[in-house]
Amino acid sequence: MKQIKVKVISLIGFTLSAFGLATTSFAADMPAPFDNAGDVKIALVRFLSTGDFFQAYLGGVESQAEALGVDLRVFDSRQDAALQADMVDQAITLGVDGIIIQHGLTESMKDAAQRAVEAGIKVVAFDVNVENTSIPQVEQSDYLLGKLALEQALKDNGNTFKAGYVYVPGIAPLDRRNVAWEETLAANSGIEEAAVFGTLDNPIANSIANQARSVLQANPDITVMFAPYDEFAKGVKIAVDEAGLTDQVDIYSADVSTADISAMLEPGSAWVATVATNPAVVGEVSVRSLAIMLAGGDPGASVIVPPTLITQSFLSEQGIKNMGDLGAKMPQFQHADVAMTDWMPLPAR
């Protein structure tokens, strides 16, 4: 059980971030309780934490909490559903003002979330349905992630091709992305689903690479791989390169990270497009939604952060090398105009 206490940055001694550029947009008057932000305690209770996405998400939560000046506590249950529920209770005991539940299982989190609400704590949930009307859902639209990637695949390859698909059922975001895949299959009879495979064995990219290689050996005429999760795409890319099919296969995926960008930019890389919501922005939006609730407002029952299509050609034309560059060249990726109020301070860019 790990608790990181994130340092509260005082309003006076704000140091410039290493990135330069820093002007903080502290809104002049924040409403109560943020007029005394240092006394506001919020907790982030996590279910998933390994992988680039979750690291960046945490980064966004941290920077938005820092911008608001609140005291953030991070609880990480590392995929232990029972522990995650206990951690919500710990946060209640700790006397936090707000809780962000990040992923988890409906069954285990529903009651814990209800207990927090009953204790007078404001709660928002990211990517987990806790079946509670007083808890807003922050979501990246997984359906749209899949849809945009597949639209690009159709644009690049026409509507007749042989495809491989990486899918593990029972994982909520993958299930939602799967809806887009099934729709596309139904609407385009020319697409042949030659193979469906997938695993979440650690390290995921390596296990996927082993499977994808077998699939490519059995179906050497596959031209499109739909791998709607970046760990899947990494594995497929390893297999495609090893099979020497780099020029023939196009990989379409979802999510993005600095490592993903460099993989897409390798000379002749088969990974041609990905669709992503900036996980850091999702983290910021989660904190902002909670802040709106703490100030007595209502962010709405569902707060959706829209995704963006990122193609290989866009990356190379704009000379984008990492997530920082991507944000600079793609403003819609850097900041999502959701869960905003006129008093909301934004993190320094």
Binding site: D52, N206, Q217, A259
Partner: protein
């Protein structure tokens, strides 16, 4: 009498025969299964777990067990990435650091077991948790890749050295262009090395002696403690080699517990008991055991079998192998005595 010969034959060659039949089956029913590249793929998919399994075999030989190999491998994965990406060291330094780490972990495991008298399962279990935690401390739980943000705020500029990636990705021409990946060669090399060490040298035979009767071996003047520690060090080093190859293939330091690596390699070593009716840990059997699982998984994936069948199949193979080892072999032996 005839029945006995038949049973003897089944125990001795049953498993290899089964593997042969599987290959035939998949060649007919999975298009693209038969062929040199496909064969090499199988070797590659089992190379890393196979190397780990060979290390476990050494600890099994001295009647020990090493639960920490999976986490040693992922620690080596993180360490090599950290050396190159954050500290900007060369491939050579990264590899040496990993091997040293593996050897030290093995030494500590061995000392805990022989000097502190901690039971092997518990000592290596403790080490496993220790390493899973330790590998995350330097990066505060983040994965390592070029361009990552460090805990201090600066950006890591180092990259994986070409020479290091070569270890995991290069393929050597043999009849066909770019046929055999380096990890497969390392796997075969280590297999032969461990096989020779265990079967053909005095040291290996003494280790088997320790495994079958530690007290008798000690009375005969064997340095029991020394050999036990050696077994754990071999296991630590082979596990770190596995981790290095994993890092070279992935090209980044992904945090992972390595539990799947542990289970797969232990399964391979245990399946190895059944090969050639050895009924004891042996390097040849371990390598065959790893390949057997690889053949099955490759064939099933090619035939579009869903992912959850994989664990089921691994389990089934292991159970059958254990039946071969314990039920059939002991019956024959019982009959002979």
């Amino acid at each position: 009498m005839n029945k006995d010969i038949l049973r003897e034959f089944a125990i001795r060659f049953g498993f290899i025969l089964l593997a042969g039949l599987l290959v035939l089956f998949f060649s007919f029913f999975a298009s693209g299964f038969a062929g040199p590249r496909s064969a090499v793929f199988i070797f590659q998919s089992v190379a890393i777990t196979g190397i780990l399994a060979l290390g476990v075999t050494c600890t099994l030989v001295v009647d020990g067990f090493d639960l920490s190999i999976g986490s040693v491998a992922t620690s080596a994965l993180m360490l090599s990435a950290y050396m190159m990406v954050v500290l900007e060291q060369s491939a050579f330094v990264a590899v040496m650091a990993c091997l040293l780490m593996g050897a030290v972990v093995g030494l500590v495991n061995g000392l805990l077991i022989v000097k502190m008298r901690v039971p092997d399962l518990l000592a290596t279990l403790g080490m496993m948790f220790l390493l899973i935690g330790l590998q995350r401390i330097p990066t505060e739980g983040r994965s390592i890749s070029t361009g990552m943000r460090l805990p201090g705020g600066q950006v890591a500029d180092g990259t994986f050295a070409e020479g290091f990636l070569w270890l995991g990705r290069h393929r050597i021409d043999l009849f066909l262009e770019k046929l055999i990946p380096v990890p497969v060669i390392i796997f075969l090399f280590i297999s032969v090395l461990i096989w020779v060490f265990l079967e053909k040298t005095r040291h290996g035979r003494l280790m088997y002696a320790i495994g079958s009767n530690e007290r008798a071996a000690a009375l005969a003047g064997t340095n029991v403690f020394g050999y036990k520690i050696l077994a754990y060090m071999i296991s630590g080093i082979t596990a770190s080699i596995g981790g290095i190859l994993l890092a070279a293939r992935l090209g980044r330091g992904d945090i992972a517990s390595g539990n799947n690596l542990l289970l797969d390699s232990v399964a391979a070593a245990l399946i190895g008991f059944a090969v050639l009716g050895a009924a004891k840990p042996n390097a040849f059997g371990t390598a065959i055991g790893a390949l057997f699982v690889g053949i099955l998984l490759q064939g099933l994936t090619m035939m579009n079998a869903p992912y959850y069948t994989q664990d089921f199949v691994k389990g089934a193979v292991l159970v059958v192998a254990l039946i071969f080892t314990f039920a059939l072999s002991s019956r024959v032996r019982g009959g002979n005595h």
